[in-house]
């Protein structure tokens, strides 16, 4: 029992974005939790972005800077009155600088259950390009 308590999932605040480009859309901006790992030929980025639909997510890679920006939708209807509010809905924004050059034609982005999985195959330097998102 006590062991289960220790390994249990802890509630962590969505960290507010401290710096970076100023947002034009009003509302809070959060930094999504991310896992980044690589093997010999691919860099993989996983990010928790609950409430973001594929259409509201932009992924951009230029000059070795990867930018994730997604707007979460609250999904509430007009007739509801709030009782308890523990989380706020806003924009997820995060940028990473990639040290390896990425083969931009082979980037794979997959959004499932609020988790983005981005596979960035390493390659020679390529030109900036918008990345399309595959919804699931």
């Amino acid at each position: 029992m006590s062991n289960e308590w220790k390994t249990g999932l802890q509630r962590t605040e969505k960290p507010n974005l401290a710096k970076g480009p100023e947002q034009t859309r009003p509302g809070p901006t959060y930094t999504p939790a991310a896992d980044i790992f690589e093997n010999d030929d691919t860099i993989t980025v996983l990010a928790d972005i609950p409430g973001v639909k594929a259409a509201d997510l932009q992924i951009d890679l230029r000059d070795d800077v990867l930018t994730l920006s997604g707007r979460a939708s609250a999904g509430t209807t007009a007739s509801e009155s709030p009782v308890l509010r523990e989380y706020a809905v806003g924009t997820f924004f995060r940028q990473f600088t990639l040290s390896d050059t990425i083969d931009q034609a082979k980037i794979d982005a997959n959004l499932k259950d609020g988790v983005l999985r981005l596979e960035l195959p390493k390659a020679e330097r390529a030109r900036p390009r918008q990345i399309r998102i595959r919804a699931e």
Partner: protein, 150 residues
């Protein structure tokens, strides 16, 4: 505003807790005024938002990356329990991590609802990492128009 005498006569446990209650209320009011979203954060995973209309209580929870079959939801009267486990699948062994921030583990959380609900009429949907529960209020908990006889 907290006003106290310099020498309180016979300090009792009740009077101390009353002061803390007052202090807590004041802090929540200030946090609310400052626009803090998490003034009522229970510190338990997952964070939930509860809202209601006349017939239904809505509960939304941020639970990204969980399989729907790993969620266990039960409702009794005005108490809702959300339980489950978030597992992050192991990647291939020969990977090196730059960042590992996404949490995993088991959770079990109780939420007190603003009204009694009918456990037979609970609808649960899981999309984009958000769990949405629509709980129909029990018949006796629904608001009624009362006609004044003249």
């Amino acid at each position: 505003m907290l006003v106290r005498g310099v020498w309180p006569s016979r300090p009792s446990f009740e009077s101390y807790t009353a002061d803390f209650d007052e202090l807590r209320g004041e802090m929540l009011r200030l946090l609310d005024a400052a626009g803090a979203a998490s003034a009522f954060d229970a510190g338990v995973f997952p964070p939930v938002n509860v809202s209601q209309d006349d017939d239904t209580v809505f509960v939304r929870a941020e639970v990204p990356g969980i399989k729907a079959e790993d969620l266990e939801i039960s409702a009794v009267r005005n108490r809702l329990v959300l339980a489950g486990r978030r597992e992050i699948p192991r990647e291939h062994e020969r990977v090196s991590y730059h960042r590992q921030e996404r949490p995993e583990g088991a959770f079990r959380r109780a939420v007190t609802l603003p009204a009694e609900v009918d456990p037979e009429h609970v609808e649960a949907r899981y999309a984009d990492g958000i769990l949405t529960l629509s709980l129909t209020k029990a018949e006796q908990a629904k608001p009624r128009q009362i006609v004044v006889k003249t």
